[in-house]
Symmetry: C2
Subunit: 605 residues, 2 copies
């Protein structure tokens, strides 16, 4: 088996860290208790391990291909996607009204992780479809919902996000794609979009593009951007109508996720055979919500996608970890330094191999625990009957999203790099597969907002806007965990409490620094934005592992599954002693080193 | 120009940090002063920038190919290698007796960096040839020297190192290739070697394989390994004779350095048309030095190669940095956060882009400074008239080699990763070229001994064996630099002195820890081996930058090239405040976290 879903860890997190019990008390989630979670996860594991994971390596070797505007996906993708749709997986977290299963994100996120661990390239298609569904659910008219949602939720059609243009990446103020009203409520759309994930493919009957464009006469900048649905095939009477004037002019040759077609899309270029055949009449588009509120709606998609990309980081890290651990238990090389074996032994006996595996394991588990607790906040923010509680949990969730996205994906760089390193020379040979994880992972800190974009969001909207209130609230909760650990008394708990405290204090120092400097010296504050995100992400992941350690210490005397619990304790302790300790250097760089970031003149680079 | 050699930085390091003056006083190096260095470097820059660098990207797209035992290198490689040989570059550091130029390593290392920055794949062929030359110079008989050295030094032939076998990577005790004496002083060699860089190619008339093998009846393990010359074509009467029975059965499909053919070589398999055509008579091999001392000789090659691989790390980091800086000055995206520009600006205006570029620049310059000072130690160790001085500098050099190799190559992972990140989405597209540096760099912490192997060497042979004497001697020198900086008084100098002091104390704590624990608790010590190497490498690179800062502060009032000097000060300060500060976490992990590395049972991974 090339991938084994970490069901026990996932269920432990849901039960003991994320409070699935509470989630299952929310209206609509009454069935979503631990038994349901276990049944869903087991079924998902069977599907992802058995059907999706085996396609990963072959699809890297023979990726999606483009010919004359048509994209053919890798062998097996089409069939696997049909199974995915028929299994109801696309609708897992979406409303039953539109054919979904309406499960909480706390459970759904685990399934997202499995699908991505099995095959990052494959999983991107559902990931983008989820975003399109969210945007239509939130801002779409009843007509748009009726026309598109069920088909998307059931996986008959797929969705895309069309933001980027050659001159407009992170800077959406520069979007030039334009939309002209046709008077009948529809628009004609003209422009070029790049980096469109699954912008064209053969896995579904129709592709529903969600496109940012400017209506003629709209204000400049981001306040003049509107969101449109531009389907590949127009929808007529519940069925598919004419081909729309959107064409895929090429797909990119990329470092990784090669099986995921990354399209350049041309809208309104007069595609032969389309509604606008040669006439330049534009691609037919349908406004989502109101004009000039496109960015707001797009953020709904982006936020869903950002969380999911963070989960992708955890997924690829786990896949790399599993492969490295298996290799380390097989590869025989050199005698152990402690003399415990008198001949060449499997390399997992060597301390540095153990260090690398522990680092991979601990950061992966830490990020998974963080993502799971964040998912519970999402569920509470959306489904709690009390509005104040909803607002409270929304703030917590919003605070954690850039950490889940930024920290988990940066962590995945280190973990997949270590995965190659554990393999030694074999890791550099593509046949081994370790290098693919390393290549695939590299997109994660870039798309759906680079780490710097996450960090700007984290500093500006998540820390400064409320005067550090949510940040300090979290710190107070962390202090409670420290107190629990101290009273627990085991050496592991003591050590973790000590490191957690130091990291929390470092975090608070940086929060103070941001609040004190952001206005008067914005460069000084934002020079530390990514280090601050990394510090906070590290702390939050370490905090969840510290909570896990405490739970494990409580459960251990009862004797159930001591092996899992002892491993959890060892992993949490390793994280605190080797990863949490990194926070001090980040604080020093932020607080004492702000000026040297900007000291060199631009011309001297 | 895709690559511009950093001549000013290189010459500054040679003059002010490595003491080229002193090197030029050594017997045989009388001509090797700063003027010579400048002339050689300028000529090397012209060649590498103009001829070699432009081949880098095309060769990644159309790498070396194998057909029926024949390897065809990428377009232009053969011609460029002829120019390289004719320019005398292969012989730059080798003795004039054999057609070389006999220049010191202090100068030669800069040329090695340029060649590698221009084209890592291309530069590997000369790098391995250098190793073969070193081994023959040190241990070869007069006959072997006469037959091979001049051809290698003048670049007519090339050399390889044949260590690895499928079951024997880091663990050379497991080598199975065997050699049987033929009675005439030659041997017949049988076996399979893998991962042989430029093991077969079309750039030279002959390939001189240096091969580790066991003579029948030799002791088990590494004490029974001998070194043989096994040429592709036998040498007869000064010319090329019959084809030897060594064949390239395949080349690897790799993550990076794709243009460098990585061969599987079969010795003694009865290659048709060879000396042993079908007869199974073995490949003809010639013993280097004495039987069973092969490992010792191989370490001569390895040590030369390890240093050079460290330089490769610096080279690829600089190439990635230059490309990222150029992109950041061109790409327009978003308004600066400080309001200094009221429209979207080039991304180098954004603090986090600056942070990334400074991190790339500072670590690259730090490692270059370290490698240059290490090279001067090498020259003093080999050419000083006084034996005690030679021994002293040999110890210093030996201490620094694992740092140059280990730290520079690990640093190159971070730098080339940041290079992709600065490019955003464009960085993930292979066309941009940033991803190639990232892929190419990944081999560096693996080959010629993984970082863990360097770290074992650093702990065992370099720190424990002399009871920490060299380590503490260096620390005392670092303390002197701190005192200089404190007396210098500028804020930058003060800040750097503070961070340098903290890092030095962390280093000393770890040295004490290693000395105290290595014997009684070897796992605890070696669990910290790589973190210790990273701590020491970080400190040594930061120390050299601290020295550079001090020099720059002294030179600044004289007014010559203030722009370069101010940039050096800013870079050194950034390094201290953002990179040197990482040493504390490494110390904590080593000293307080040793047990948690080994706490998890093997079966629980």
């Amino acid at each position: 088996m090339s991938y084994v879903a970490p069901l026990q860890d996932m269920l432990f997190n849901m039960e003991h860290l994320a409070g699935l019990d509470q989630v299952a008390q929310l209206p609509g989630f009454e069935e979503a208790g631990l038994d349901t979670a276990q049944a869903v996860l087991e079924e998902c594991a069977r599907f992802t391990q058995g059907v999706v994971a085996p396609l990963n390596r072959p699809a890297d070797i023979a990726p999606s291909s483009w010919k004359d505007g048509v994209v053919t996906t890798s062998d097996g993708f089409k069939q696997a996607f049909r199974q995915y749709a028929e299994g109801g997986w696309q609708g897992l977290q979406h409303p039953a009204d539109f054919g979904g299963q309406g499960l909480p994100k706390t459970i759904g996120a685990a399934c997202v992780e499995m699908l991505n661990a099995a095959n990052l390239s494959f999983a991107l298609c559902p990931l983008l479809t989820d975003g399109a569904i969210e945007a239509l659910l939130t801002a779409g008219s009843e007509e748009l919902k009726a026309a598109y949602l069920e088909k998307l939720v059931t996986g008959q059609w797929t969705g895309t996000m069309n933001l980027t243009e050659p001159q407009a990446g992170s800077d959406l103020a520069l979007v030039r794609t334009r939309a002209e009203p046709l008077g009948d409520g529809s628009y004609k759309v003209f422009g070029t979009k790049i980096f469109i994930t699954y912008g064209e493919h053969d896995m579904a009957e129709n592709i529903v593009h969600l496109v940012l464009a400017r209506v003629q006469g709209a204000p400049e900048g981001v306040k003049g951007i509107s969101l449109f649905v531009v389907p590949k095939f127009l929808v007529e009477g519940g069925g598919l109508g004419a081909r729309n004037d959107v064409q895929c002019v090429s797909i990119e040759h990329k470092l990784g996720i090669k099986a995921s077609p990354t399209a350049v899309l041309q809208f309104g270029d007069g595609l032969a055979g389309s509604v606008a055949d040669g006439a330049g009449a534009g691609a037919r588009g349908f406004l989502v919500g109101e004009e000039n509120r496109g960015l707001e709606y797009m953020f709904i998609m982006m936020n869903a996608a950002r969380y999911a990309v963070g989960v992708q980081g955890i997924a690829i890290a786990d896949r790399a970890y599993q492969q490295a651990a298996a290799f380390a238990k097989e590869r025989v090389q050199s005698r152990p330094v402690d003399g415990s074996v008198k001949a060449s032994a499997t390399i997992i006996h060597h301390p540095d191999v153990r260090r690398m595996l522990m680092l991979m394991r601990a950061t992966t588990e830490g990020c998974r625990a963080l993502a799971t607790t964040a998912a519970a906040s999402y569920d509470l923010a959306h489904h709690h009957p009390d509005a104040a509680q909803r607002a409270h949990h929304a703030a917590l969730y919003e605070f954690m999203v850039p950490l889940v996205k930024g920290y988990s994906t940066e962590m995945a760089q280190e973990v997949t790099g270590l995965g190659v390193q554990v393999h030694g020379g074999m890791g550099f040979i593509e046949e081994t597969g370790a290098a693919q994880h390393y290549r695939d992972a590299k997109i994660l800190p870039i798309y759906e907002g680079t780490t710097a974009i996450q960090a700007n969001d984290f500093v500006g909207r998540k820390t400064l806007r409320d005067g550090g209130q949510v940040a300090r609230g979290f710190a107070a909760q962390i202090a409670e965990t420290e107190a629990q650990l101290q009273s627990c008394g085991t050496p592991a708990a003591q050590s973790v409490a000590r490191q957690l405290r130091a990291a929390r204090l470092a975090f608070l120092e940086v929060v103070d620094f941001m609040l004190a400097n952001a206005k008067a010296q914005p460069n000084a504050a934002y020079a530390g934005s990514v280090p601050y995100l990394m510090l906070a992400g590290n702390l939050f992941a370490g905090w969840q592992l510290a909570r896990a350690l405490w739970v494990a210490e409580q459960l251990l005397p009862a004797g159930q599954d001591p092996r899992f619990l002892r491993a959890k304790i060892a992993t949490a302790q390793f994280y605190a002693e080797h990863v949490l300790v990194r926070t001090a250097a980040l604080r020093d760089g932020i607080v004492q080193g702000a000026d040297s970031v900007m000291a060199l003149n631009i011309d001297d680079f």
